[in-house]
Symmetry: C2
Subunit: 305 residues, 2 copies
């Protein structure tokens, strides 16, 4: 199976309102809820592609129970979240129906105790024994040490499991130094890590810092990959217009899916770009349009960079 | 005991953010949660005054469980909420720490099935047998007929239990026609009901429509009461500055508390105005400042109107 780690899981709530105006009262016209946090989004896409996926991370309180109930209902997905005493955070996306814009309110996340963090690390090591690849995704909740991902990368490498890291800031900086197989920063995260706003230069620097391969997300312009086997640019047929929410998580799912199937890099990148573009095209945030994905697989261009 | 009815219970969530700006992402700096809906607020104030209170209405899903867990932890308060299959709604108050202003997002509430509505009515009739007074508070969730409060007023009158109604719009219009002992509109609700923006005229019209007594909330200017025993204006010593959230619910609690203790009208009104002002003065929305309340009891002026 493929393992995804989401240390800061969330219950993602979307509210639609006719128009958002600060300092007045709004009647919400539509409420939707679903499991959130980057690793859970990646897992949902992998499960939809037909892979066996196990999700781990933390779950707590009434919000955690809602997240787990929905995960359990997803075919192909196994819930291995570790229980904690503080409740799983909520994120609220308020969609303004007049403009289509979204205002985001993100709770900070539960504080993880040292005992809970130890319990997670033990469970993670057990899960690695049957994993063909692992993705470490998203922010760290309060209480988890900033070097957490570095430790989880080392454990995966010791177990011989290919590991992808998708995070930002200091957690990314430390994680990269632990030599993950793939990191997938966007251009902002890359600039924060390396100081360079030039993707090629930033990616080279990131490899020098320890990442075996670097896949930079260039938004609507696709991906740039620097790997031990070569350098590539993977570009969709045309920039997609739509909701970019979850496009980065879909790209991670595409890379993992290709890795799992032992495809060469250009084919991995094609899957990643096609899934990402098919996610932007889908009317539901974070889902991908399957017909569009299958068409896009033949339309993505991969060239040496 | 005193019975309060909250058909549209809520989990009230408050988010503090440094500054709310539409269409960007915000990190919430503080999250607080508590049971909400007018009747639950009234009950919490009554319990704090030392009365035995039973709350009824509906509860459902994970949000309903959080509401019930918190209610059960309140001394003096008995939970008689009726379970329903759809989840209890959330309300989100986003407090802008820069301006102090609040932006409110209210979910519509669960749809109540005809069987659930029947189950509630049976339970309500049973609870009335041991009630000394009942308050019917707030909006109606989807699925509950608009004449609901009219029916509940009639059932209370048939059981010989004094009944106070605090709602708005068509539910208020129909409820008033069923001859409740007290209605407590604010000036907007009164104007919507009667077409008059003049509180005295509006209150007279409301009595003609069926209410035995009408207590109009004039905001910082106190209360105007028209009753079979006389007319009064009850005014706090000075207009309070602070957070008016829950001030109206505290006024209802003051009226019920006086009714329960069989106080004459001027004393009931004094309690209501003192509690309302002490709620505005409290730093926590919806709680009242007990020391301020006890001082204010001697400072509220009640005069014939």
């Amino acid at each position: 199976m493929i393992l995804t780690v989401t240390l800061n899981t969330a219950l993602d709530i979307t509210y639609r309102v006719p128009a958002l105006r600060p300092h007045i009262s709004h009647r919400v016209s539509e409420v939707t809820e679903r499991p959130g946090g980057k690793g859970l989004n990646v897992a949902r896409v992998l499960a939809a592609l037909g892979h066996e996926v196990t999700v781990t991370g933390f779950t707590g309180g009434a919000t955690g129970r809602i997240v787990q109930d929905q995960l359990t209902a997803t075919p192909g997905l196994v819930d291995a979240l570790v229980p904690v005493s503080a409740p799983t955070r909520r994120t609220i996306a308020v969609v303004d129906e007049q403009t289509g814009d979204t205002t985001q309110l993100n709770e900070p996340g539960p504080t993880i105790t040292p005992a809970e963090w130890s319990a997670f690390q033990e469970s993670y090591e057990d899960l690695l024994a049957s994993a063909s690849a692992v993705a470490l995704c998203g922010s760290l909740p309060p209480g988890v040490p900033v070097g957490a991902y570095a430790g989880l990368v080392r454990t995966a490498r010791a177990a011989g499991v290919p590991v992808l890291l998708d995070t930002s800031g200091e957690a990314l900086r430390r994680g990269v130094a632990a030599r993950p197989d793939i990191v997938k920063p966007n251009t902002d995260e890359l600039a924060e890590l390396t100081g360079s706003h030039e993707p090629l230069r930033g990616a080279q620097d990131t490899r020098r810092r320890g990442a075996r391969a670097v896949v930079v997300s260039l938004g609507p312009q696709g991906l740039l990959a620097l790997t031990p086997e070569g350098r590539w640019r993977a570009v969709p047929p045309s920039p997609e217009h739509g909701n970019p929410t979850g496009a980065g998580d879909s790209a991670v799912a595409g890379l993992l899916s290709g890795l799992r199937d032992q495809l060469p890099w250009p084919d991995c990148l094609t899957r990643a770009v096609a899934l990402s573009a098919a996610t932007v095209r889908s009317p539901t945030a974070g889902d991908f349009d399957r017909a569009a994905y299958e068409k896009l697989l033949a339309q993505v261009s991969v060239t040496a960079a």
